[in-house]
Amino acid sequence: MPPLPQLSLSGVVPFNWYLILSVILFALGVAGFLFRRNIITVFMSIELMLNAVNLTFISFSYKMNQNDGHIFSFFVMVVAAAEAAVGLAIILTVFKNRQTLEIDEVSSLKN
């Protein structure tokens, strides 16, 4: 077990705490994705995962002192926005057809 970092009020935050925060948020996103049944909630969990990844990008960008990570993060946001638009449109269509938002009902490919 590596030694726990000293908590000092001098203000220096160990770098890997950011990554651990990213891991925790990602895990929460996975949990929401797997264990919630409302489609929109599942979608929001995906957004949470994307945010966690963004945090990782920004952290490493800080570490390397370059802003390429910011740009990647920017693109991630753009793509997430596009995906959200299309995904919500799909959800609307699914709701129109099945009158329900439960993810288990969307199972036409069942054996």
Binding site: P5, N51, L101
Partner: protein, 166 residues
């Protein structure tokens, strides 16, 4: 000081995340997600990503989440129904996730020992000018491609959500 701020914002983010997972009504989850995004924006600021922090607040929290809220309210489904899950699924989920987090953290700590810290203000490349310069010179092609992507998404969304022609 930085540490306290970080812990504060990180705590907010985690709590909102847990709230997102645990709440039954989707609108509560959506608002929790907004909280997560706000906290994250502040953390980005601490890491020197000014432009990104603003973009997060404006685009992500301000547009995408509003879209989510619109759709939730449009569909107005209400709370999720409770479902009976198998025993081992109910009791295995949380420990498994905890194990996952622990494992990843161990790996992270092993690779990046807590040598250096983060101080506010050390990163200066995160300004809009710096990011913008790079975006429009080196990363011009991905920029244009994502514009096309957004265009396609718009068209897709319109087609999918339009009324059926009878």
């Amino acid at each position: 000081m930085d540490a306290i701020l970080f812990l504060l914002f990180a705590g907010v983010a985690v709590l909102c995340g847990i709230n997102l997972v645990l709440q039954t009504h989707p609108i509560s989850s959506a608002l929790s997600l907004v909280g997560v995004m706000g906290a994250l924006a502040l953390i980005y600021l601490q890491l020197g990503g000014e432009f990104i922090a603003m973009a997060q607040l404006i685009v992500y929290a301000g547009a995408v989440m509003v879209l989510f809220v619109f759709v939730i309210m449009l569909l107005n489904e209400g709370k999720e129904r409770k479902v009976h899950r198998k025993l081992w699924v109910r009791w295995a989920g949380a420990p498994l996730l905890f194990a996952f987090v622990a494992m990843m953290s161990a790996i992270v700590v092993r690779i990046l020992p807590p040598s250096e810290g983060v101080t506010f203000g050390k990163m200066t490349q995160g300004t809009a000018q710096a990011v913008g310069t790079k975006l429009f010179t080196i990363y011009l092609l991905p920029f244009e491609v994502t514009s096309v992507l957004i265009l396609i998404a718009i068209i897709g969304a319109i087609v999918l959500a339009s009324k059926e022609v009878d």
